[in-house]
Every structure is written in structure tokens, then in C-alpha cells.
Symmetry: C2
Subunit: 318 residues, 2 copies
Amino acid sequence: MSLAEQVLEGNIRAAARLMRDIDDGRPQAIQELKQLYPHTGNAFIIGITGPPGAGKSTLVDQLTASFRARGKKVGVVAIDPTSPFTGGAILGDRIRMNRHSCDEGVFIRSLATRGALGGLSRSTSDVALVMDALGMDIVIIETVGVGQDEVDIVKEAHTTCVVMVPGLGDDIQAIKAGILEIGDIFVVNKADREGADRTSRELNTMLDMRNTVTDGWNPKVLKTEAQRGTGIEELTEEILSHRAFFQSSGAITDFLSNRSKRHFIAILRDTLLKNALLYMAENNDLERIATEINDRRTDPYSAVEEIISKIMLERGTV
Amino acid sequence: MSLAEQVLEGNIRAAARLMRDIDDGRPQAIQELKQLYPHTGNAFIIGITGPPGAGKSTLVDQLTASFRARGKKVGVVAIDPTSPFTGGAILGDRIRMNRHSCDEGVFIRSLATRGALGGLSRSTSDVALVMDALGMDIVIIETVGVGQDEVDIVKEAHTTCVVMVPGLGDDIQAIKAGILEIGDIFVVNKADREGADRTSRELNTMLDMRNTVTDGWNPKVLKTEAQRGTGIEELTEEILSHRAFFQSSGAITDFLSNRSKRHFIAILRDTLLKNALLYMAENNDLERIATEINDRRTDPYSAVEEIISKIMLERGTV
């Protein structure tokens, strides 16, 4: 039985193994993903994003418990800051959400922000796909809300919660503006801290002022204390309200179409580059070109034109 | 006279215009960059990274003043958190470093973290290249130290300063570990705050423990109060020490070679994808494929194989 078939039967170990194969870039993993694809599209994907220190992990832990109490299976993809040298995730699955570790209805996976080709958003969508195929009803994607890669990741989610926290520092204002438009729900976590009301008011003011075309949904600002579990029920309800709105308003059609395009383009880009680099490796072209660029005998733009012409001539293909 | 020629004569307006053309993705900009390339490689590039709220902008402002006092021309590329919808930088050049605004020896450019193809690190290296060609002796790249894109940006720099600040929150530990290996110099800014000594000690301990192969350089932890200018001279001296070490140890050779490879690969990837998308646009392939993926009639992996075969057959080229 293929890994994909095992995943479709709900085999958690097979899912974990497939995710490793995806991580390692094994060609067979693509074949498995192809098999899974027709059986996906059922999971509801929730994005949780916000600055470091906002308490996102604790909030995700509480949301997981809340959805479990409603009988839902929950997958969590946590994007951890990575050591660029070791390539591994820093926090790791081990110290995450110990209380769910014996629960078969919870599947947690940490993804490292690797420097590998392909990028984080592609890995995230592949992992979310496996969780979907595995039968997870809810997939929560947690990521730090800074950087383009992180914004791209959030675009995977049907519903995005932006988590803020009172008094985080000087340029929080900028971050707030940066993620304002991607939030369907705003959460002021650690709401017992000084300044929580002010942060909440500021967010409401900024939301009132935002002039982008919306789909008719009015994002609310909720307060939580994830550590104590305060406000989690309200947040869960609001997430489900957004989901219902998203489906009834028809906004989901455009969302799914755009997401499919992004997935396709990301895979196309990676495949084209991989093919070209494989071709170059045959002749050690990359080393030669790097030397020529360093010596200013060529420039990277001309070198790219040169190599594309060469591939056209010698191989007649991508 | 071409824009490139004007830039090489030190024309700041021409440089600003070329940067806009790069931003807008004008094909002519590539021709100008090609012309500039042989005249670049002279600027010393300093990366400043750290979490939001660490006071990076103020530190960059002070470093700029410090290098100006030494008679150096300084370019600054500030990567700002962006609104993913408006596409513009939030902080912007306007509110940055007003005190240098009348100084012809300072050139400041904010880059937005756009969603466009190509990515931030490529825009950053192109902008740094123009500043280099313009005759800037020092180019400072400032970026938030979270996310893969940001780590890639820092790889552009000869010398990287990681800026920390006391008491920023729970998962600062993770971020510290994440950027530990990319720092040549560590700065604890806002050193008058409670916990500065502890942050400094922690950093020193983590640096002692780090087991990656280093090039023989031992990163120091310095304390600054950028707001008052305290510790800036020491930081400037340490940056210059690292530069001297980098050159005398020969580590710069590998650095330059790796950087050239990265530039080449990034441009290759963008060009291959652009060519393929142009081809697809002729037949409206992208819309068709997105619909087929949505309907689960195909999957993104098979769709990529299909389109690459089609390009091969019909066009015989990338």
C-alpha cells in the first residue's frame, strides 16, 4: 500500500513519514501528493499570525483544545524561526503543546524556515495538504507576522487571526499597519496587561480607517488571555462565523482560484529552476559563472541570458 | 547619456530614477544594471538586523553620522514592513533620518516587502548595487531579523550586526538562537533598560556554546544607547575591525563566490518563470489550470509537468 493510501486511511505515522519525504525533497513525495490531491479540500484552514512575544503558541494550544471539545480533529503547522546554519526548527514539536501529545485527534508539525529552494509557503501548503488528506477537520497554521514569506503563508488560510499584544515596542505600529489588511479577526492577547484597552482601541480605529475593498466582512477585535483560557470560546465562535460568511458570500470562490494559481506558480518556478540547475551541474557551469561574475568579466543578468540560450540550443527544452 | 552613465558620475537623481525602474520591473533597468556592474564591488556592505522594537532605525541613523564624520559616503537600504495590499512601505523615507536629508553624502532608500515575483533579497541586492555604483563607500542594509527573506538579505552584507534589546518577550530566546550564527557583531541596544546586562550575558553564553565552524572571528557583544549616541564609536570601530579581518583572513573569497551564485540563481529563477508565464498568458493557460485544480480534475504537480511538456513541444525552449 502506498504512503498516500495509508494517509487516506488515517495512518498518522504514514503522514509523518510523507512530510519528512517532502522536507527531504524526495521525488517520490510528489507522486504521493498527486495521489492525495483528489481527496483534499475538506479541511478548514485557520491562520494565526502576529509579532514575536504575542503568545501565539499558547493561543493555538487553547484553540486546539476548543475545537477538540467540539469533536473536530485538529492539525497544527507551526512555522518556527530557524537557525539558518543548522537548518532545524528551534522550538520543535517536543516542547509544543504537551497536553495534546497523547491525543490521536491532534497532529502537530513544526516547520523550519529553511534556506532551501522552494520556500516556506510551498512547504506549508504541502504539509497542510497531507493533514487535510489525513482527515483533519481543522488545520491551524501559526507563523510570525513579519516578512513576505509569512504573509504568503497566511494566504493559505480561509480565516486569518492577527494576534497583537499590548506594549511590544516602538515599531509595532508599523507591523500593525502591515498586517491590518490580512486579518479577518484581530486578537489582543495578554489582555490583562497594561495598555490592552488602548491597543484594542487603536486597532478598531485603524480598521475603521482602512480603505481597501473588503468582501463585506467587518473584522472584530477580541481580547484574550490565552494563558488562562479567557476569551477562547468567543474567538472560536468568531472564527466559525467568518467561515460561514466566507462560504455564504461566495468570497471563497475567488480565494480558492487565487490559491490554486499560487500553488501552481510556486511549483512551476521550483521545477524550472531545478531542471536548469541540473543541466548546469553536468558542465559545472555554476562555478564557472560565479568566477566570471566575481572577476567582473560578466554580470549576473548577462550570465542568465547566456545560460538560457545555451539550454535552448543544446537541449531544446526546459 | 544613459541612466547608468549618470549614476556612475554620481548623479543622485539618476540613481533614484533607476531604482524606481527596478521596482517597476522595467526591462530597460536590466540593461542599466548590466552597464553598472563592471564598476561595482567597491562599497562595504553592513547588515543591521534584529527584532521589531530593538531601535534599529535610530542605530542606523547614528552609524550613518559616525561614518559621515569619517568622510565616508553612506547609502542606506531600509526594508520596511509592508502592507501586503497597498504594496507600499509603511515607514517610508520621509520619516527616516531627517537630519541627513540635506546631506549629499547620504542616500536613503526604503524598500517595501512586496508580494511581487523575485522577492525582497533580489531587490535589495539590485538597490545596493546602484548605491555602490553611485560611489557610496558604505551601504547599510537594515531589516527585521525574522523570516527567511530577511536572513537572505543579511547574506548580502560583508559585516552583520544583530541588534537585541532587553526584555522583548517570550519567544525572543528563539529569535536569538535563530540569528546567532549570522551575526558578526552583537549589539544590546537601549542598554539603559532593565535587563541589559542579563541580555548581554546570555548572548555571550550562547556565543560561547555555538558549535558551528567559524572563520576564526570571535563576535563581541557591545552595548549601545542609540538614542543618546552612547557606544556608537565602539560599534563603528568593531565593524571596521571585522572588515579588516574579513579581508586579511581570506574569508571574503568564499563570501563573494557564494553571493555571486545566489544572485545568478535568483535572476535565473525569475527569468525562467517570467518566460513560462508569458508563454502561458498567450493561451490563458493559467486560468484554465486553476479551474482544473479547483475542480480536482488535476493537481498542481501534474499541471506543472503538463505545462512544461507543452512548452517543450510547442516552443522547444524555455
